[in-house]
Amino acid sequence: MNLENDFFRIDTDSDGVALLTIDVKDNAVNVFTEDFLRVFEETLPKLIDDEAVNGVVIASAKPVFHVGADLDMAQNMASRPAQELYDDIMRINAMFRLMETGGKPFAAAVNGHALGGGFELALACHARVVADDSKLQLGLPEVKVGLMPGFGGTQRLARMVPLMEALPVMAQGVSLKPQKAKALGVVTDMVPAGSVVAAARKWILDNPKAAQPWDVKGFKAPAGKVHSPANVQLFAGAIGQGRKATYGNYPSPAAILEAVYHGLQMPIDQGLKVEARKFVSIAHSQVARSMIKTLFFGMNDANALKRRPAGPAKCDFKKIGLVGAGLMGAGIAYQAARAGIDVVLLDRDEQAAAKGKAYSERLLDKAFKRGKITEEKKAAHLGHIETTTDYDDLAGCEIVVEAVFESKEIKEKVLSAVEAAVAPDAIIASNTSTIPITELSAFLKDPSRFIGLHFFSPVEKMPLLEIISGEATSEATLAHAFDFCGAIKKTPIDVNDGRAFYTTRVISSYMAEGMALVRDGVSPALIENAGKTMGMPMGPLRLADMVNLDLAVKIADQARADLGDAFNEPLGIAAARRMVALERVGEKARAGFYDYGGPQPILWRGLNEEFPLADEQPGLGAIQKRLMTIQVVETMRCFEDGVLKTPEDADLGSILGWGFPPFTGGIASYVDQTGAAALLSDARSLAEAHGARFEPPANLIALADANGLLHAA
């Protein structure tokens, strides 16, 4: 058989080996779409029935082998009736089973990443010949967007390798490297990158009567029996650990575990049905829909700079300046140099500047020791960072970011010096997290070139960049800030100026509400568990300790000084003041709401004396309502004040900025899922019970009245 279509071509050689080369048209990678699968399903029986074909090699014409189902398709699945979706999934399973049992050998020639459905396609082949490339990933990452494998992945992998190895791949999305996969027996053969097709072809000729191990009579999975004493412990422990990690908020890891647990106890065709049933329920889940929307589509749009103003021409960054070589400055320098941009790292004295560069050296040493980078790469990376104390060295920088101490006086001096040193079209940015951008821009002759770039610590790990436009910031400055964000591979959100901008403002409300609960005599353990079980990365008190309580007090004092009577001090700040007075300022002092003396931080036993417990304790749900509603109200105020521009940025900023529960898809999605009317009613009753901080802003009332959504439906 020889043919060509929009998805693959088939060339059959004189030995009867059909080479099926996947090359999805108009796509940088190979993905499954509904059309691809339909054409594949039509072709496969003919290919197997063709007497001129003795076996099939599945290969790729692209750098990746295959990265699985197109997520548009996954998103469509959510709205399809269960029976219809189940039937479709079972047709795909039947197709893969036909490959396995059709009587002709199939080999996957895996030249690049094989992920999700792409890896499942390879698993349904009788052999996998994989390129010897340590960057190549084999894996089932569905769980990361709230989904699970649906093309037999849980059943085949669990029948190939011990559960201790299979479960992290499926339930945590940990990918396998070829070396490891070979050792586990998932990879049949590992060959140099250029010869995967030739090696796969040879395998076909050597194995004319291939069968999958699970189709051979007497098959025993390497996992052993599900009810063996060892596996009983393993499953019980995996369930416990799963809940420990997810608080039961993510349905897919448990569904995957269940598909494996039951599937392994039955013939594979029955196991595939168990997987398909679970898959349908997961694909229909709100969690999967929300996570795909924000963590895949939302993230992709942001990284593609979709919300960059279209007008101004693109700016390329070759040389940038950083003033202030502390933790943030050093981190930004590392990140920019990694992207191949020259960095001038400036501080008051050479020693301070050198210390900033040493930060990069430390990170690179660590990466080198782990074998992640070469000596040359390390040298090149460091070669991009030049340290100085002289502002004249900033000449020629396309952007200069100041990351000096949070003091208006110091920043004024620095910004004036920067403006004097750089070209008139260079952008000047501040990494402040507390001082309004418009105030800082007044220190410049040309405030239109000024913008806020709020990085998160540690810079090299935290993906978010909150871009803050001041009143005078020009469209070109904003567009170029987006370009800079793209150049250093961060995920941007675009907000307007306002006290504490967006992310800091909302997370502060969470911490303050936690402290207000303490003041109300609610059990601190209950408060912390309420925060954690609703999916926040930390309880509000632990987070407040990390930020440090004296900082919270200082910020409140500054706001009072700036705003006077207009400032409404959050109730919880009183608790922070009391803690500061007790010299328990937080983690840096090894004493705050928690004690940090032991192996684990534990809540300070003296809290119950300082803040006597109320006789009647609220339920977990009531506490969560306060901790959640305060964030919603504050977010809505950010929209109302014009700080937030789009629900997409609200979502991404909430998840990436302060760890708002990813399973919700972000805080704007949470508003839409919960319904503005329900949130409004919560806000009103909480305002009545606990004060004006819960008073709903006009836009929440309007949204509820209109029965509307933040995201376009």
Binding site: V226, F235, I239, R243, A254, L257, E258, Y261, A525
Partner: protein, 403 residues
């Protein structure tokens, strides 16, 4: 409605639940159960009357405990081809559940005389040996916060603030009481030695009683469930269900938890008429019983509610009861029950319990019922309750009075 009476109760001595050293390990489970059925028949002349059924509790009915061990034991004990048998399972409540089912059938006139009890050879089939999907199947365990029992016991201790010394002190008392009871022959009416086919005694005393146990010796034991709880995340599961807790305290260990043993028991339950036909004199009347479900994560706190329900059914309260037998699954289970109900330690498990003598899962319920009836007679008291907690959040209670 017909009244149901207890005519007799027997039990084996309890052998260590270890293959290497267990005194009963060399006996088959069917034979162990049959021995108790034979004892019932020998001690109580049924005459020509056959029992209507044999009901035995067994929690892990696999391998040599499989295949409806009650019917096998009835055949082996020569109860006659026409006597059927049924094996039941309500985890640790099984032995008393068997008696409860027998009583229900007598009360309903569906049967006149039934042998009920239980058997468990934990040295033969380990705990969970028949599978435990309630903790291994993610479809059940994950949504219901199910955790292993020992962690549940530590959760009770954590919630109630029991210190290690408090639970250990309870365990020391159990040992002392059991030792004293043995010394004074208080178990002699129930314990029937296990003998071989030649009449040679295999075991005639409980193997696990430690009269010299004290706070110091127990204090040296490591917590049994801490490592497992922390490694497998069961601590987090417990806390997510009980979020007022910051961290679990781990106070239970081998010395203050029920011991793993082999044993069997049997109780003869019947109507007054059936006893009169055979010239048997009833020892106690079964007033009421109740089996209940309770919150499954903490799992072991159900007995108070089971007792409340059984007592209410006959217009009684906790203070109307002279003697209590609550299975000592873990020390915290008994302490929690006493805290919750106001039942005093002086009338609770007066002859010790499973912490000293062991807990052969399916057999224990009928064993403690026999202990209760023996003690009511010895101490010349009138009313008593036997109660047990059971896995997955269940409990059973039975109220009796001397006939």
């Amino acid at each position: 409605m017909t009244d149901a009476y207890i005519y007799d109760a027997v039990r084996t001595p309890r052998g260590k639940g270890k293959a290497e050293t267990g005194g009963l390990h060399s006996v088959s489970p069917v034979e162990l159960a049959a021995g108790q059925l034979r004892a019932l028949k020998e001690r109580n002349d049924f005459g020509e009357r056959k029992v209507d059924d044999v009901i035995l509790g067994c929690v892990d009915p696999v391998m040599d405990q499989a295949g409806d061990i009650a019917r096998s034991a009835a055949l082996l004990a020569d109860y006659g081809d026409e006597v059927p048998g049924v094996q039941i399972n309500r985890f640790c409540a099984s032995g008393l559940e068997a008696v409860s089912l027998a009583a229900s059938r007598v009360k309903a006139d569906d049967a006149q005389l039934i042998a009920a009890g239980g058997v468990e050879m934990m040295s033969r089939v380990g705990m969970g040996g028949s599978g435990a999907p309630q903790v291994t199947d993610p479809g059940i365990a994950a949504p219901h916060f199910l955790i292993p029992q020992g962690v549940s016991a530590d959760l009770i201790a954590t919630r109630n603030g029991y210190t290690r010394d408090e639970v250990d002190a309870y365990a020391v008392d159990s040992q002392k009481r059991a030792a004293k009871a043995w010394k004074e022959g208080r178990f002699s009416r129930s314990v029937t030695p296990v003998i071989d086919e030649n009449g040679i005694i295999i075991l005639d005393t409980d193997e696990t009683v430690r009269p010299d146990a004290d706070l110091q010796s127990l204090g040296g034991l490591n917590p049994s469930f801490q490592g497992m709880a922390m490694m497998a995340g069961f601590d987090a599961v417990a806390i997510q269900k009980y979020p007022e807790i910051e961290t679990l305290t781990y106070v239970h260990h081998a010395g203050n938890s029920s011991q793993i043993v082999d044993g069997a028991s049997a109780v003869l339950v019947g109507s007054r008429a059936a006893g009169a036909d055979s010239g048997l004199k009833p020892r106690a009347r079964i007033l009421s019983m109740a089996s209940i479900g309770s919150e499954p994560t903490i799992m072991l706190t159900g007995p108070a509610e089971a007792c409340r329900r059984a007592l209410t059914r006959v217009g009684m309260t906790f203070s109307d009861i002279d003697l209590w037998e609550l299975n000592e699954a873990f020390a915290a289970v008994v302490l929690n029950f006493m805290d919750e109900t106001g039942v005093r330690h002086e009338v609770m498990n007066v002859n010790g319990g499973a912490i000293a003598m062991g807990h052969p899962l399916g057999a224990t319920g009928a064993m403690i019922l026999g202990t209760l009836v023996d003690e009511l007679e010895r101490a010349d008291k009138q009313t008593g309750v036997a109660t047990l907690c059971a896995a997955s959040g269940q409990a059973i209670a039975m109220v009796v009075e001397r006939a």
